[in-house]
Symmetry: C2
Subunit: 376 residues, 2 copies
């Protein structure tokens, strides 16, 4: 027998998670996860699935029948929608301006999808007429944009883009990982055909599920395919057979993660989406006002600044990694580093879900002041 040495009891240090995700999990969600499991075909569990879908539809502001959480993290949601909406050799147009726009292209390439990517400098967003022009120049079956670009902190406006896509015969695919629950997102009113999200950002849950929603128009496109999606685990119509009345076995959905998501979404519904959006906006505003007092400057212009993820320029001469280390070790606070071209240039501060609370902002601003201003 190959042996093993004893491994110590789980005892992580307390952390206030104010990075790009995961954010801090709501205590009610933590408690829900210690609930003993139901089997995946137990009638009581099937009722919980239905309720979770109802709550997801409310949170996405949609009546889409095909609304369910994929059993993986947000990246699984991205890959699931790509392989369902697009067959190999079909064309995807990505309007990119950050890390996750690029990633849409990278993931699509794995499946033989033809990709046209247009780019803007990181931190900028696309105007509707730019999307219109791009679709005219690069006809595609699907056009994809990132609603809340976690790498830059920019908020891509989506109103009007669905109509533009449809005029060009394209479907509109949206990355809503860092927006779902944290800022206005209305799939039906905005004619969005497909969106994926994560649970560990604005929903107060741990990572592990990727809520997705697909419009009837997009579902028709899936139904018109001549070959099934190029990944079995992500085949949405197979998933819909389990989440729908058939209850046909596909894989063993995690009761624990469903408990968590359902509880996180119940909290969303109790607070109300509009109140939740307003809370995220108010705490972001309070944070940015505090930054100004510390002579710290957000990376993104106010007009397109996310309330859920704020990128802050690292002042000249400051060791950005040391600041993050001190926040973690002295204050128990996690914030994120810059990604890609913004590495070393910005910090990424997430104010999402249960982490978006005024007292957290006060603490972070106080800690930054102690580290940056009184650093002599």
């Amino acid at each position: 027998m190959l042996p093993i040495d004893p491994i110590a009891e789980l005892a992580p240090s307390p952390r206030l998670l104010l990075g790009p995700g995961p954010s801090s999990v709501h205590p009610r969600v933590l408690r829900a996860m210690s609930t003993p499991l139901l089997g995946y075909l137990d009638p009581e569990f099937l009722r919980l699935l239905d309720e979770t879908q109802e709550l997801l539809r409310y949170t996405f502001q949609t009546t889409n029948a095909l609304t369910l959480p994929v059993s993986g993290t947000g990246m699984a949601g991205m890959e699931a929608l790509l392989v369902n909406l697009l067959a190999p050799s079909e064309r995807l147009l990505v309007c990119a301006a950050g890390f996750f726009g690029n990633r849409l292209e990278e993931v699509a390439h794995r499946h033989g999808i033809e990709v046209t990517r247009i780019d803007k400098p990181w931190g900028e967003v696309y105007a509707p007429e730019e999307v219109d022009t791009a679709l005219r120049a690069h006809p595609a079956k699907v056009v994809a944009l990132v609603h809340a670009e976690t790498s830059t902190g920019a908020l891509q406006p989506l109103e009007g883009l669905g109509e533009i896509a449809h005029r060009h015969g394209a479907l509109l695919l949206v990355d809503a990982v860092t927006s779902l629950g944290g800022l206005p997102l209305r799939l039906d009113a905005w004619d969005i055909d497909a969106a994926y999200a994560g649970t560990q950002k604005c929903l107060g849950c741990p990572p592990g599920l990727a809520p997705v929603s697909v419009s009837p128009r997009a579902r028709e496109a899936i139904g018109a395919r001549t070959q099934p999606p190029s990944a079995w685990y992500f085949d949405l119509e197979l998933l819909a057979r389990y989440w729908g009345p058939d209850r046909a076995y596909h894989h063993t959905v995690s009761a624990t993660l469903v408990y968590a998501l359902r509880e996180g979404l119940r909290l969303v519904a109790e607070e109300g989406l509009e109140a939740l959006w307003a809370r995220h906006a108010a705490n972001a505003e309070y944070f940015c006002a505090g930054l100004a007092e510390l002579d710290l400057v957000p990376f993104v212009a106010p007009a397109h600044r996310l309330p859920t993820l704020i990128t802050v320029r690292v002042p000249h001469g400051v060791d950005e990694a040391q600041v993050r280390t001190r926040l973690r070790t002295e204050y128990g606070i996690e914030i994120g580093a810059g990604l890609g071209p913004l590495k070393g240039q910005v910090w990424r501060v997430g104010l999402m879900g249960h982490s978006s609370r005024r007292e957290n902002v006060t603490l972070l601003l106080g800690a930054l002041k102690e580290i940056l201003v009184r650093r002599d």
Copy 2:
């Protein structure tokens, strides 16, 4: 705004999970999941990842460096290994004798992998010389077998198969979903090149992660590929960059599920694999002895009967669904129905992980007696 009606507090009925999975989660694992999260790059979390890998290596009985949990359920583990070991148009040989053997073929087809499937009646297993003959007749890059076929209750012996595969220039891929932790499995001693499992069977954890392990020989084959795996989320070398010293971001690994798996594996290590295997064997033996007293007959011959999942023939004239319903509603016990050709023919009783306890067997036998024998 689209509205929503209030959804009630989570309050599932208590269930003793004695079906094909999930099995009941150990209380220590449930408690671990209510622990607040660490960020996925927190030095403390990275240490937990290392420890989880160490524990997984012990449980798989391997020194394979590439040993980690994929962020999905057991089926994600299956698809991950298929797309990493095999490029489109490469050949897989599946020695099937049940539902999950068939599924290996189905999933492989999605990726353009050429599949040869040989079949035996459900409930039977392959002798080493049969695998040898099959590989001679159908040369393949990978030969796959299901160690513990959850649909039939049959235990496929694996000793000697690695050597046979290698003699034919093939890699040996094993489905260990219902065996890992519950019965002898020794990746290194048995020359197994790749195995995937689930957490919700014999490890006492909820579903959500798929432990996989890949031998140096199989990893070399992955490294020799000219194109990357045909699914981005399942690309093991990208995952290894996060689980290894690079710590390169791929997706947001779920701290909660890692807490759960680490705790479930700590329980495995504390009890010791050999004691754990013996417990599963003893409880299965006790259950089968009790079945005999009720004139109930296991579907699989004793020589190849799994200790973790026992299929029981439904006696003539008995409404099998009603028995399951009464077990659930009157005793709070879940057992499973038959799958595929065994639908209506068998019940599937799982005695796995924390569910494999003598008192559970006593209760199930008592309940079956009350329902079946005193049913007049």
